[in-house]
């Protein structure tokens, strides 16, 4: 076991959590526990909003899986991952002010709340809750596996004990802290990620003898590593471009992102968040994935992609610094998991329990149920992560595409198109989920693109077609 690295790793994590809890405790509670616990009372400032967006999205897929794939695919994967820079500005500009205004009007706390008020339909609520629970569950499992792997590689503990440590930390934190605590830690974690990736990239470049020598090493291993086409030439322009939908513009439809887009304080906070978010995502994505590519020249022959990051950090940095730098990806995973957990439990408590089971529970009762559900969910995901599949990134991308195909049009058209109605929304959700699952299973790359593109087009057709053809039923409104 690597003591020095472990101590700084866990020390940093513990410090982040302590700060988050202290700050969130100091804020006075408003009358609504639900609003506070799940939304932080709509009080986020620009910096915290930018960082929490970055940390939520920059999850295990980018921080552990991403550099691992970049290690195998070369610069082509960096090209692909940089598409995510667009999410830094696009999400907040598109949902932007309109979403914040509308959700305030509706007093919506969750994405499902918004859909419920906008479409006034029980089926919309049930369908969206269902897909949030199913898809975010698989995302969470993927994240937990990533966290376990990271602790495993760094400390030398077994995967199961690593996973166990990870889960306990996350559970305690989310259960006690709620949304505001999570977003504050996100802000700190985001900053560590930013600094950590810069340190690590510089160390990697020095260890590799400078960029030109690294690039020529890579070229000798396999010339394709320095082309945009991937190690075996399989990253075609059409396929890579279709990721503009999956990890670029489609991200507006992810519930964990959308909920943040309704939680900020003012237009000024939004503006600051757009600028900071774009720059931070850009720096982190570029550094993280370049580290993965360059690592190939320094440490060839790593078999499990997920272990590239921890191993290269231990190779090029002194152990205590490696521990600090790796606190960044671990923190990223934790914050993703934190917010996913909150989201799934808010779906259960707020959208299903309060809507349909018990409309007027006392504050005490909601508090107990929220924390209880959050804790139980965590334990279930842990059990799922105990026997994990190998490459977490694909699991994760499957869920992301599914959520996007479900929610993109009900959200976007819900804000910008008055004629959209509940029939359109239901049709679009069903078309989106169903076609995505079918394509993924039987025909994963229609027209050479990621299947999320076709599913999103199908669900748009369903939304517009059904809304228009049922519009007469809606005249009363």
């Amino acid at each position: 076991m690597n003591w020095e690295a472990s101590v700084t790793l866990f020390g940093t994590i513990a410090l982040i959590f302590l700060i988050g809890l202290t700050i969130s405790r100091r804020e006075k509670a408003s009358e609504s526990f639900v609003q506070d616990y799940f939304l932080g009372g709509r009080s986020l400032g620009g910096f915290v909003l930018a960082m929490t967006m970055t940390a939520t999205y920059g999850s295990a897929s980018s921080f552990i899986g991403g550099p691992g794939v970049a290690y195998n695919e070369g610069l082509g994967w960096v090209l692909l991952s940089l598409i995510q820079v667009a999410t830094g500005y696009f999400t907040l500009m598109i949902l932007g002010k309109k979403f914040a205004i509308v959700t305030r009007q509706y007093s919506a706390i969750t994405l499902v709340d918004f859909l419920k008020e906008r479409y006034q339909s029980k089926w919309v609520v049930l369908l969206s809750s269902f897909s949030i629970i199913v898809f975010l569950f698989s995302t969470m499992a993927a994240q937990w596996i990533g966290g376990g792997r990271l602790i495993e590689s760094l400390t030398g503990l077994s995967y199961h004990s690593a996973l166990f440590i990870f889960v306990i930390t996350v559970l305690i934190y989310v259960t006690l802290g709620g949304f505001r605590a999570v977003t504050i830690t996100d802000a700190i974690q985001g900053s560590i990620m930013l600094i950590g990736t810069i340190i690590l990239l510089v160390a990697v470049i020095i260890a590799g003898g400078g960029i030109p020598s690294i690039i020529s090493d890579l070229q000798q291993v396999n010339p394709n590593l320095i082309t945009p086409y991937g190690a075996d030439g399989s990253l075609t322009p059409a396929y890579v471009s279709s990721y503009w939908v999956l990890v670029g513009v489609g991200v507006v439809a992810l519930p964990q992102i959308a909920v943040r887009a309704m939680s900020y304080k003012s237009a000024a906070a939004l503006h600051r968040a757009i600028i900071i978010g774009t720059i931070v995502v850009a720096v982190i994505m570029l550094n993280m994935h370049l580290i993965g590519v360059f690592a190939r020249a320094i440490l060839p022959g790593i078999e499990v992609g997920d272990r590239v990051m921890p191993l290269i950090a231990l190779e090029v940095l002194p152990p205590w610094l490696a521990g600090f730098v790796l606190a960044a990806p671990l923190a990223a995973i934790m914050s993703t998991v934190d917010s996913l957990l909150l989201l799934v439990s808010s779906t259960i408590v707020k959208d299903i329990y309060i809507n349909y089971v018990n409309p007027n529970p006392s504050r005490k009762k909601v508090q107990r149920i929220s924390m209880g559900v959050t804790a139980v969910l965590g334990i279930i995901v842990f059990l799922m992560a105990v026997n994990p599949p190998d490459l977490i990134i694909w699991l994760n991308l499957f869920a992301i595409g599914g959520l996007e195909a479900t929610f993109i049009w009900p959200i976007i058209m819900g804000i910008y198109w008055r004629k959209g109605n509940k029939y359109g929304a239901i049709a679009s959700m069903i078309a989106g989920i169903a076609s995505y699952i079918v394509f993924q299973s039987f025909y994963p790359q229609p027209l050479g693109m990621h299947s999320v593109v076709t599913s999103i087009i199908l669900s748009l057709i369903a939304y517009v077609g059904v809304s228009l053809s049922t519009n007469y039923k809606y005249l009363g409104n």
């Binding site: 610069l75 090209l79 309109k98 322009p237 503006h271 774009t278 850009a282």
Partner: protein
């Protein structure tokens, strides 16, 4: 924030719509920049690659320069074209 704000609802909504359109414009520009340089320079044979600061030219222009250009554009757009409007239209507030 929810003082006597002069913004009437229509104006706020118009602003919000315009800013969303700007977002779409930016992302299209971003995509074209990214695609043109990556596959324009990157599709040559590897032995013909040019290098800038040790990185292949396609990567340098598409990724490094692209990221810088888009960050600057985002900054300009937000600073000069986005407006600070009140987000509480009617004074509603929590449940």
């Amino acid at each position: 924030m929810n003082k006597i704000d002069m913004n009437d609802k229509k104006y706020t909504m118009k602003t919000a719509n315009r800013e969303a359109l700007i977002g779409i414009g930016l992302v299209i520009f971003h995509f074209i920049w990214w695609f043109t340089f990556a596959y324009g320079f990157g599709s040559r044979d590897v032995s013909d690659y040019k290098y800038i600061f040790g990185l292949p030219a396609w990567f340098f222009y598409s990724c490094i320069v692209g990221v810088i250009v888009i960050s600057v554009l985002v900054y300009i757009v937000v600073k000069f074209f986005f407006e600070e409007v009140s987000l509480d239209l009617e004074e509603l507030e929590k449940k």
